[in-house]
């Protein structure tokens, strides 16, 4: 039986207020180590909300997110930050690079925050990551000197910096042209093939089809689950 990297148990995210709104409504999900999971669904269906919950960017109203066997619902905000720093890598729709820093400095940021490597080691790894993504010659450029695809690749390099178990990507190709989209997806595919777990939210069904497994979210629930990779997944079908 394959090792579970990421698990959601009865996950609920509710927005309280004058008009209460449920973004994620009781999702159970398991993602194996090295699996490439694509989350699809119409706008407002709750797929990004689910992703933020899985990546500990948001806290669930009910339920539990288990990362590498560790329950996270009782963790303090600082402990959640530590888990994000060491076990999760984030890629967003927009690159969200720090504009005043070079590509290399942006990639070094999570490593410096973790403080587990020496400066030469960090620089070596940063340059190696940028090189492996075809950005070796752009290491000293700032984000405004790069194309959209290049920026997104720098963001992926940053997400990989601390060798996280899980890469969480929220529509990483949403703002890219076709060529860059293909490049980014290939990179994510390669990452999964190398043993890291990748969870991607995307609107593009063609791209989602290249994932090991695809789950389709409607009204905060899993409406459909397809693909071979989902052997360990427990999917509650929308009624």
């Amino acid at each position: 039986m394959s090792e579970i990297a990421l698990q959601a148990v009865e996950l609920v995210r509710r927005i309280e207020g004058d008009v209460a709104h449920t973004l994620v409504n009781g999702i159970d999900l398991s993602v194996k180590k090295g699996e490439f999971l694509a989350i699809t669904g119409p706008s407002g269906s709750g797929k990004s909300s689910l992703l933020y919950l899985l990546g500990l960017l948001d806290a669930p109203s009910e339920g539990e997110v288990i990362i590498c066997g560790e329950p996270t619902s009782k963790l303090s905000e600082s402990e959640r930050a530590d888990v994000r720093l060491t076990k999760c890598g984030f890629v967003f729709q927009f690159h969200f690079l720090l504009p005043e820093f070079t590509s290399l400095d942006n990639v070094l940021l999570p490593m410096r925050a973790a403080g587990k490597m020496s400066e030469p080691e960090m620089r070596e790894r940063g340059l190696s990551l940028l090189g492996s993504l075809g950005l070796g010659e752009h290491a000293n450029k700032r984000p405004n000197q790069l194309s959209g695809g290049q920026r997104q690749r720098v963001a992926i390099a940053r997400a990989l910096a601390n060798r996280p178990e899980i890469i969480v990507a929220d529509e990483p190709t949403g703002a890219l042209d076709t060529v860059s989209t293909q490049q980014v997806f290939k990179i994510l595919r390669d990452i999964a093939d190398q043993g890291q777990t990748v969870v991607v939210v995307t609107h593009d069904p063609a791209l989602a089809a290249r994932a090991d497994r695809r789950i389709h979210i409607v009204d905060g629930k899993i409406a459909e689950s397809t693909g071979q990779g989902g052997g360990e997944a427990v999917c509650e079908m929308a009624t």
Binding site: L57, R84, D105, L109, P110, A113, D170
Partner: protein, 412 residues
């Protein structure tokens, strides 16, 4: 910490104009506060210096602080005595020379005898009440600055003129007399003495220059009608600030009332305390106001950098670490601002020290007294740095409390 400093430095160095405005605000606050502190303390110390130089540090008088306890009071608890008539005894300090010898053996300074009395000076129809102090010129130079305060004549000229007196310049001006003129002194018992003005002095304190006259011991004792009497011993200490402590010891030893210069000017010194409080309040307000520039800049930066804050938090940086970035930014603005403020403060102090003003009390033109103290620079710098850090803390705390997901959703 290096990472946080790098981010902070990048933020401030890419906003040159804003950063310079913030630094200028801090510099102005620090500079003007240092100038004000130097000016206020300078004038205060100058005044105290004049006061201390003009009067003895400790004055021992031939009186007691309270009536001596009666033997019957000591013996029987039930006995209570009041309104006891004083026995008519000869005024003055008993055995002054032996008292002085005893004091000289331990006090950190010197002591001189004097005979102090009040008299009326009569000249050209003018009758002015004055304070007459009989001194020993050889000893006087050890206990007062009178010798250096002489404007005409010398302190030794007292011995060369018949019944010579030294008079304050302001009093001489009021009477219209000059050195060498003769005036009439009238004592309390109607004793009259023609005296020659042997010299003029200026202490710098108008109240003294208008009412104080010095003579040799003999003429003063004649005016008092008590030959040979010494009713005052005046002490000058190497460190004037020890006066209160030494005065208490002297009083305990001799039994005579010993008044330090601080006790004699208690009202004045307490007014200085109020003045210090007002000055400190104003200086604090200046530093606080200058820190608003820092607050404004950090508020702007945190607002502009909301997205970066969200990203850093989403990457796993802790809230306090992100908050610290903005505190460091404020510290950079504060430290550079303080360094320039120190230079500005010094230059302002130097500039003010070159300005002379007319003192209507003394009738002289004097430069402004500035007190240069490293303490001013350290305290003002420290307070300013704290104000800057405080000014940054609140906007930084507010900005870093935001949930990253809210910003990321908004940006997406």
């Amino acid at each position: 910490m290096k990472l946080l400093f790098n981010i902070a430095w990048t933020h401030v160095s890419t906003r040159v104009r804003q950063t310079l405005v913030g630094m200028a605000g801090v510099s102005m606050g620090v500079g003007f506060t240092i100038m004000m502190a130097g000016l206020m303390q300078g004038s205060q110390l100058d005044f105290l210096r004049q006061l201390v130089d003009t009067m003895p540090h400790i004055t021992i008088e031939d009186e007691r602080r309270s009536v001596p306890t009666q033997p019957a009071d000591q013996e029987y608890a039930a006995v209570q005595m009041s309104d006891i008539a004083n026995v008519g005894k000869r005024p003055g300090i008993k055995y002054p020379e032996s008292v002085m010898s005893s004091l000289r053996s331990w006090i950190p300074g010197d002591v001189a005898p004097s005979a102090k009395s009040t008299a009326i000076i009569n000249h050209g129809g003018a009758r002015i009440g004055i304070s007459l102090t009989g001194i020993d010129p050889r000893r006087e130079v050890h206990v007062s600055k009178l010798a250096t305060q002489m404007r005409e004549g010398k302190i030794e000229d007292l011995s060369r003129s018949p019944n010579g007196i030294l008079m304050g310049e302001a009093l001489a001006e009021k009477l219209g007399v000059k050195t060498g003129n003769t005036v009439l002194l009238i004592g309390g018992q109607g004793i009259q003495l023609n005296s020659t003005v042997a010299g003029l002095f200026r202490s710098g304190l108008r109240s003294i220059d208008e009412s104080q006259i010095y003579s040799l011991m003999g003429p003063a004792q004649i005016i008092m009608g008590q030959s040979g009497v010494v009713n005052q011993l005046r002490l000058r200490l190497n460190d004037p600030m020890l006066a209160q402590k030494v005065a208490a010891q002297v009083e305990a030893q001799t039994g005579y009332k010993s008044v330090s210069w601080q006790e004699a000017n208690a009202d004045l010194l307490s007014s200085f305390t109020v003045r210090d409080f007002i000055v400190l309040t104003v200086m604090g307000a200046m530093l606080l106001t200058s820190s608003f520039a820092t607050y404004n800049i950090i508020s702007t930066i945190t607002h502009e950098k909301r997205q970066d804050i969200a990203i850093m938090k989403s990457l796993g940086m802790r809230e306090y670490a992100v908050r610290r970035i903005f505190i460091i930014e404020a510290a950079i603005i504060g430290v550079v601002g303080i360094l320039f403020g120190w230079v500005l403060g010094y230059l302002l102090c130097y500039g003010w020290s070159k300005i002379t003003i007319f003192n209507p009390l003394t009738g002289t033109t004097v430069p402004l007294s500035i007190h240069y103290s490293l303490t001013h620079y350290a305290v003002v710098g420290g307070i300013s740095l704290l104000c800057c850090a405080g000014a940054a803390y609140f906007p930084a705390r507010k900005a870093t409390r935001v949930q990253p997901v809210e910003i990321i959703r908004g940006a997406s």
